[in-house]
Amino acid sequence: MKLTGALERVLRVMVADPSAPHYGYDLMKAAKLPSGTLYPMLARLQQDGLVDAEWEAQRQDAAGRPPRKYYRLTAEGLRVARLELAQAASGAPARRTGHGAARPAPGSTR
């Protein structure tokens, strides 16, 4: 997983309250991301098993509002997110300086 600025913001929001379910627009507002960035990212996280999605149960007080899909970090996702955020906070600036740093150095074997 490559921690981009947008992903970092989403993970921060989700790690802040790991048990709280978030729906898409909620995350868009909290992380200040457009839908075109957020949903592909959530799909990727879900594919990697870091995020779980579940449908909201239909409530009586919802006033005809359709049930939403809620996203939540899995246990594995929480562990990975905390690790990545801690690494980012402890200053690994080379990881976030754009695509130039993402390439392996010439001659290095990964």
């Binding site: 729906y23 898409g24 627009y25 909620d26 507002k29 457009p34 839908s35 075109g36 960035t37 957020l38 949903y39 592909p40 799909a43 990727r44 509002r65 359709p66 049930p67 939403r68 899909k69 392996p104 010439p106 290095s108 074997t109 990964r110």
Partner: protein
């Protein structure tokens, strides 16, 4: 009277139209998910002017369109991978050639320019000022040249000539240079160099 229900209906229709691009197994669920977000977007701040809310919904739909693109791409793989699959016979239909994609992009751009022209004519029914045809040709030229230059800039390699030479040719001979580049000089998306191999 609030225009929210009408905006919501239009947005729902847009989302449904966009979701038709997705594979059938995820289409309904995605459509339901995104439609359910609409009330939150529309009712979020009641004091906001309605056109801003409409704009917000529209940008949400544009993002959804982008998302379906990304989801489709990650589901089927890149065009390079699909080309390889087609050659080995894994998929039956041949993926569209770069020339086909270029012509399709040009057509879409033409339609956009035509719509803009139509709106302009509606607003000024007395006839078009003579600058307009020039502006139209300029818009087309800029669109096509921009496409070619962006392609050259993103390409890892180009055929026969240097990248800068191709860029100059594209700029100097507006439609012909670009067509020449796309038909002869264009190679395709860069192939990532596996670790351990020397870089070209």
């Amino acid at each position: 009277m609030s225009p929210a229900p009408r905006v919501q209906r239009i947005a729902e229709w847009l989302i449904q139209a966009v979701c038709r691009r997705l594979p059938a197994d995820v289409r309904t669920e995605r459509c339901r998910e995104w439609t359910a977000e609409l009330p939150a977007i529309l009712d979020g701040q009641g004091t906001r002017p309605s056109f801003l809310r409409a704009l917000r919904v529209l940008s949400f739909c544009v993002g959804i369109f982008w998302t379906t693109r990304q989801l489709n791409r990650s589901a089927r793989g890149s065009s390079r991978r699909r080309n390889a699959q087609w050659r080995t016979g894994a998929i039956r239909t041949r993926p569209p050639d770069v020339a086909v994609r270029a012509v399709r992009g040009l057509l879409i751009w033409l339609i956009i320019v035509a719509i803009a022209l139509g709106i302009f004519t509606l607003l000024h029914p007395r006839g078009l000022p003579p600058v307009l045809p020039v502006a139209l040709v300029l818009a087309l030229a800029i669109g096509f040249d921009g496409f070619c230059l962006a392609d050259i800039a993103r390409a890892a390699q180009v055929r026969y000539l240097h990248k800068w030479t191709w860029a100059l040719i594209c700029l100097a001979q507006c439609p012909l240079g670009g067509i020449l580049y796309l038909s002869i000089g264009h190679i395709g998306r860069p192939r990532p160099v596996p670790p351990g191999e020397p870089k070209p």
